[in-house]
Subunit: 580 residues, 2 copies
Amino acid sequence: MNSILITSGNVVDRLWLHFSAAYIITGVACYLLYYEYKYISGKRLEYFMTSKPLPQHFTVLVRAIPVTDGGSVSDAVDKFFKEYHSSTYLSHTVVHQTGKLRRLLNDAENICTKLANIKSVRHPSGDPPGKFLGIFGRNDLVGKYQKRLEDLEENVRMEQSDATRSRQEVAAAFVSFRSRYGAANAIYIRQSDNPTEWQTEHAPDPHDVYWPFFSTSFMERWISKFVVFVASILLILVFLLVAAFVQGLTYMEQLETWLPFLKNILEIAVVSQLITGYLPSVILHFLSSYVPSIMKLFSTMQGFISVSGIERSACNKMLRFTIWSVFFANVLTGSVLGQLKIFLDPKEIPSRLAVVVPAQASFFITYVVTSWTSIASELTQTASLLYHLWGSCAKCCKRDDSKPPSMHYHSEIPRVLLFGLLGLTYFIVSPLILPFVLVYFCLGYFIYRNQLFNVYSPKYDTGGRFWPIVHNGTIFSLVLMHIIAIGVFGLKKLPLASSLLVPLPVLTLLFNEYCRNRFLPIFKAYSTEALIKKDREEQSKPEMAEFFSNLVTAYCDPAMKPIQRSSNSDDRTTPLLSSA
Amino acid sequence: MNSILITSGNVVDRLWLHFSAAYIITGVACYLLYYEYKYISGKRLEYFMTSKPLPQHFTVLVRAIPVTDGGSVSDAVDKFFKEYHSSTYLSHTVVHQTGKLRRLLNDAENICTKLANIKSVRHPSGDPPGKFLGIFGRNDLVGKYQKRLEDLEENVRMEQSDATRSRQEVAAAFVSFRSRYGAANAIYIRQSDNPTEWQTEHAPDPHDVYWPFFSTSFMERWISKFVVFVASILLILVFLLVAAFVQGLTYMEQLETWLPFLKNILEIAVVSQLITGYLPSVILHFLSSYVPSIMKLFSTMQGFISVSGIERSACNKMLRFTIWSVFFANVLTGSVLGQLKIFLDPKEIPSRLAVVVPAQASFFITYVVTSWTSIASELTQTASLLYHLWGSCAKCCKRDDSKPPSMHYHSEIPRVLLFGLLGLTYFIVSPLILPFVLVYFCLGYFIYRNQLFNVYSPKYDTGGRFWPIVHNGTIFSLVLMHIIAIGVFGLKKLPLASSLLVPLPVLTLLFNEYCRNRFLPIFKAYSTEALIKKDREEQSKPEMAEFFSNLVTAYCDPAMKPIQRSSNSDDRTTPLLSSA
């Protein structure tokens, strides 16, 4: 009797331990989130206050410019801004449709690359001159390419002069101001009585502008947004089918049915353990590695004006995809429709999750262990190496190796957040996963630190704008952990513990709301205080005059600049075709 | 055989007629909504461009002002705005806590009213002097009241001098600028690096300010918002119980059980028809008439700074209450929880509504007919008359009859929208209701026109800001009509018609989204174009100097102004106690 009481007491004590652990871990996580949000906000303000003058702080992108008959976009912009922003308006650059021009330039660049390849084969260092079997063929080829290149250059010059005429103007322009505060005035106060005209927004860094965006009309962009939305949903659902197939692989009988000739090998104990334990995760990782590029392609079609905007949107899509496809799909078994039906029964969600989540603990532990190798391959850059070797062999897809690689935030951040989600949700039900997740994070810390400092070169600097994505992902993981804990205590017939846990997600969401009001506006816009202080600091500096004269031409479309052929065509490192 | 085919053909034709009617009525409604939104936006801009200078266009309400130790709110405001808005900043008025002061002034006003009553009884025109039985008693009373009034005035003066000292300053101020554009700069661009400090918003009309709001602290306001939210939900649910009781009254047996002594009367045919047909609607109307005041009280506690803001919020609450309690509660029978459960089964909603809505058609026809009498009582102002008579008899609650009444938008607009909802939703299933609804609208048009031109005097002018509420209410009615129509066609086993109707709510919501982008911003803020044009127009006018000197004192709290007693206390029309 006593031993029964003691045993049941122990079990109950352990559950109350889990209960208090839920509160403690939530409190610690929220404290760390607050501290980090505050720290990064401070860094962002410091970055702004200590930066040298940047074109994007003084420039505004204006769209939906109404043009009167017979007038041009350029005249309309000039008139409007001289009328209403006379003291701060500096200059403007109208955007032109340059889709055709860009295609011509791409073709010309490809031909130059092929020419360079041929010439490098022709004069390799130390090759005997005996190899003239194909020299005559190569000479013809060189002549043909050079003729084609000259034709292309002629076309490009014609297109450029066409594009500068009014009929290829897009109703959009980059407008530059003499002060940051002047630019902010144009962005945050609606310009026109008709809200669909003279729409203004922040301009991106000139090197960060995604020029092909402007070559589509408004209707094409609207339709693209809708198509992209449907396509992302379809991709997520299709991936679920693949994940279900992967789950099915864990059954040896299935494999033996599909691949009977391997039956003998499969029956060896080691092989069967490897396949059932390791193979599903490997396949899942392999397939998942293609999805970031597809999501980035979708974001490209959605009409963003900057590469950083495309990557942030792709990061959000990848986060939703990763959490749904890797976590929920592997946890909720059954058909796709069956999985979606769980959301029609909100009351059943905690108990359902509390049943299925612990059941998949071993799968996810394996998934985390598999990810150690993907972290290691990040260090060795295996994927890039393989791609480079493939490119050298095939001679068809040669990547531009002159620029250093840059960090793919849209694939890395969601992956890190996924492991955060796994750690937090399995913390209550299966704490065994924690050491593996911690090893992943430790490895990741050192490896990413090395990569970011020594290997990758940043393509753009958003000033911390990816942080809110991380914050929101972590809040979501916390609330999911609470829901699972409520379900677990419900299943263990401890309604008191269940109901005492209900305030926890409410408090977490209130905390998130506070952070949204306290910090998020800093990531969307700079304040009057900061803008005016910075403007006053720089007013008297002599280098501002030079900056403003450069600003006038900062936002010219690179495709519109006059091209020049490099005279020294033996030099492999200089691009043959470059803009002035 | 032929007759069967013809009959079924007729039935099918009628259904297709209803189907096309759904499309036509939606198209006509959307066209009218677009035209009206455009017209009212145009009127709003015209109102702005033709208005004389108004204090609220030049003033900004600043809240959450950070105060350094030893400093005052006034100094902090002055320093901040001279630093960052030096060219446009004019003056500021700090808000003080005046709750106690207002209570003292109310008491003094009440005593003055009582004194005036006594004196009017003492010297009624033409009364014989024989009524001196109570004169000595009245003299004592007059002396007592006058002594009390002097004490109160002394207290008021002391409180006013206290309040002007720093310790009763609220961290909020009205800041005035020299131009509308300057004020807009302060509102739409975040002022401080810390988003929770120096929060700015539009200031209301000085006469429209709801001063008691400022006397509560930030935490009190936050808690009030939460309490108000819960209280409105509770009110709506409680009202549903009352509505269920009303439904029960339609059963004569219930009445005979509760009131057995009336059995003989109830058995008369006319009486029983009157009771079952008319009484439920009358009771519903009577109870509903108290709810607007309760909702306005809730809005008052929510922390709005202007009376127009309170009424707009009360209008939204009343709209939700009216639609839920009068429409849904009477349509979905069963317990409150049973009714709420319908939302957990989204797929069942169309078919469920298609069954229950037609069943209540007769109830709503009666409801519309009853409302004709409430429209008529609007014309005769019966409620005000009864209240005035009651006040004269009771001598206790005498209303201030010196000010003309004003339109209660928060109760009238939701009522009109309810009849729009009834007309649109019953249009498909029971078109018999349409003539009654049209009579209501015709009566309403003439009666409200008369009231607004000849009877009511506006308390405030929002410039059309109630229109988006009407637009959203109508869009909701249209979508509800579509859902019911989809359910009806599903029940009649016409899946083709059902699925052809599905694009209709989608298109309606897309239309609403377009209107939200095209027109709604005009109702939230004026554009740079309008502000700068208006500023330039007035720059050279001589009356602006006088306007600016008045602007400096426009936002003083009326409770803080020095009081003066009117010397001629026989004059009944002049208020005895008035501010300078």
